[in-house]
């Protein structure tokens, strides 16, 4: 069964494909116009980082939100992308675009490998094993310092290229559009997946494992599919990050990045994909706006998250839905 073969043509109670497609195209067109508004390379840098975070967070929403699999090694998949790309492009001298693609593939394989030890586990034990997996990947990278630069990381990692366009003196325009393309491709893939029968089956497993199995769903296969599907674009995002920053550092395995991305998944509202993307914008822009507050910044951000989650337990998406209903009612009353 391929992904498209099993896509559900129309599903009662869900937004129609047509409507979603319109929203999707309009939304991403607006994003594509942003460089017209933001001419400076600093703003563009922030937007590029938002796109990378959005890819990583929305893919985490697939395994965590839809699949209910507490994969706390998700950022390790990102880290694998960073290092696979850096090693292939810098040490092996492979074409950056091929290295980028290979990073996605290797991250996917790594995700399939982690699935094996967690198949018979539930909840907190999955957190433990996946967290251990992230630590293991990091330790391996540190120990192979001849290749990976150990705790120093790697510098002068080759960047991406587009024909003979100058990637450095274009005010980050090329990287902006590559990052956006990455987010578009990833989001398209995720939405198609969650609206497919395979997507419904991973929600079924999340909601009631035994019941899903009794209807023929294979826990082993669908768990693997879940983690593998969440890994590909995460790995590519890691590779893109390395190419964009021109370096690789083990900081990507640290708690602080994982915490930021996890806040995006939760603040956005799980099991929506779009929520994580919206939250990547909100949190990053908010954090940039609060730059003057120095040490207060993380505390203010944390407070904001807590308040939003208390008022809207389904996150930003819940907030937007509530606002939408309110507006729709006003319009109706007036008409």
């Amino acid at each position: 069964m391929t992904l498209l073969d099993i896509a559900i043509p129309s599903a009662p109670g869900r937004i129609t494909w047509n409507r979603e497609a319109i929203g999707f195209v309009v939304g991403f067109l607006l994003l594509a116009l942003l460089p017209l508004v933001f001419g400076d390379s600093y703003s563009r840098h922030v937007l590029i980082m938002i796109f990378i975070y959005a890819v990583v967070a929305s893919n985490w929403d697939l395994s965590l939100g839809y699949g209910g699999v507490f994969n706390f090694g998700h950022l390790a998949l990102f880290g694998i992308g960073v290092y696979v790309y850096s090693l292939l492009a810098k040490m092996a001298g492979i074409d950056p675009w091929i290295a980028l693609f290979a990073s996605g593939v290797i991250a996917t394989l790594a995700a399939v490998l982690v699935t094996i030890p967690i198949l018979r586990l539930k909840g907190i034990y999955i957190i433990l094993v996946t967290f251990g997996f992230a630590q293991l990947v990091m330790q391996v990278i540190i120990s192979q310092s001849d290749l990976t630069g150990g705790t120093q990381g790697l510098v002068r990692v080759p960047g991406l290229y587009l024909f003979d366009h100058n990637m450095i003196r274009d005010g980050k325009l090329a990287y902006f559009y590559i990052a956006l393309a990455l987010l578009v491709a990833s989001t398209l893939f995720l939405r198609l997946f969650v609206r497919s029968r395979a997507g419904a089956s991973i929600v079924a497993l999340r909601d009631n494992e035994e019941y899903a199995i009794s209807r023929g769903v294979s826990l082993v296969r669908q768990r693997m599919v879940t983690l593998a599907a969440s890994a590909f674009f995460t790995g590519i995002a890691g590779a893109f990050y390395a190419a964009y920053q021109r370096n690789a550092s083990i900081d990507v395995f640290g708690m602080s990045l994982a915490t930021i991305i996890l806040s995006m998944v939760l603040l956005g509202g799980t099991s929506t994909i779009y929520g994580a993307i919206i939250a990547s914008f909100v949190l990053t822009v908010f954090s940039e706006a609060m730059a003057d507050f120095g040490a207060w910044r993380p505390m203010i951000t944390a407070l904001l998250i807590i308040v939003i989650m208390l008022v809207y337990p389904t996150g930003l998406v819940g907030m937007i839905r509530a606002a939408w209903t309110l507006v729709a009612e006003r319009i109706k009353r007036r008409a």
């Binding site: 109670g13 909601d207 035994e210 009794s214 209807r215 826990l219």
Partner: protein, 245 residues
């Protein structure tokens, strides 16, 4: 050859023998009843037959000629042996339609999207869920509708045999009447039904054969009339009632 053959099946939880050396056979096309006081091992028997969540410690189970006691639950389901659960169960995050689509898509190997879709719709209509309910989240349904939905997801897998675990529990009188009709029509579709119920009268009106369990063991088996006339069955039931009082 019987459709389902259970031979010397046992399952223990520590020192408690929940199912103890149970044997019986179900012929294709019949409604087969299983009775017994609460805690007599009826649900555990369904669990070990379907491999969900575990198979038997001992014994052999043959379904449609294939030995299934060591197979995983999803593989058993795909052979055409479906079950319901005693408590109403649903995929709360999915819509009614998607719930049925899971059964239709994963229940039997090699099925295209269009066919699965129409099978899901057919199963939902069969149990009486109207198309206006298709888009609702399953978690929002009433107990009765959720029980019907659970039956629909089973029927959507296109089973040869259906194991129903106390379909009438926690339902009102009229709902029970509807359930009885639904079970009859399920059997008329050519699906062999094995029905657990601890209320004997419910089974009497439906089943052609009856098995009574007590403390994990077969107490009596055979024609419903002769089974309930068995003094040991009477005693087991009266005994429970007394201890429950």
């Amino acid at each position: 050859m019987p459709l389902l053959e259970v031979e010397g099946v046992s399952k223990a939880f520590g020192s408690l023998k929940a199912v103890d050396d149970v044997s019986f056979a179900v012929e294709a096309g019949e409604i087969f009843g299983i009775a017994g006081p609460n805690g007599s091992g009826k649900s555990t028997l369904f669990n070990v037959i379907t491999g969900i969540p575990f198979g038997p410690d001992k014994g052999r189970i043959r379904f449609d000629g294939a030995e299934i006691q060591a197979r995983p639950g999803n593989a058993i389901a795909r052979l055409g042996l479906a079950r319901t659960f005693q408590r109403e169960t649903s995929f709360d995050g999915l819509t009614v339609f998607e719930n049925a689509l899971i059964g239709a898509s994963y229940g039997k190997p090699g099925r295209g999207a269009t066919e699965a879709r129409s099978r899901a719709v057919e199963a939902l209509e069969f149990v009486g869920l109207s198309s206006s309910a298709f888009g609702r989240l399953a978690g929002e349904l009433s107990v009765f509708d959720r029980k019907c939905l659970m039956l629909a997801t089973a029927i959507a897998t296109k089973p040869r045999m259906l194991l129903l675990d106390e379909p009438a529990s926690s339902l009102t009188k009229p709902e029970i009447e509807t359930s009885i009709g639904l079970i009859r029509r399920t059997a008329e579709r050519g699906i062999t039904v094995v029905l657990i119920e601890h209320v004997l009268t419910f089974l009497m009106s439906l089943s052609q054969h009856l098995l009574v369990l007590n403390q994990g063991r077969v107490l009596a088996a055979g024609e419903p009339k002769s089974v309930i006339a068995d003094p040991r069955v009477v005693e087991a039931y009266l005994g429970t009632r007394r201890s429950a009082a």
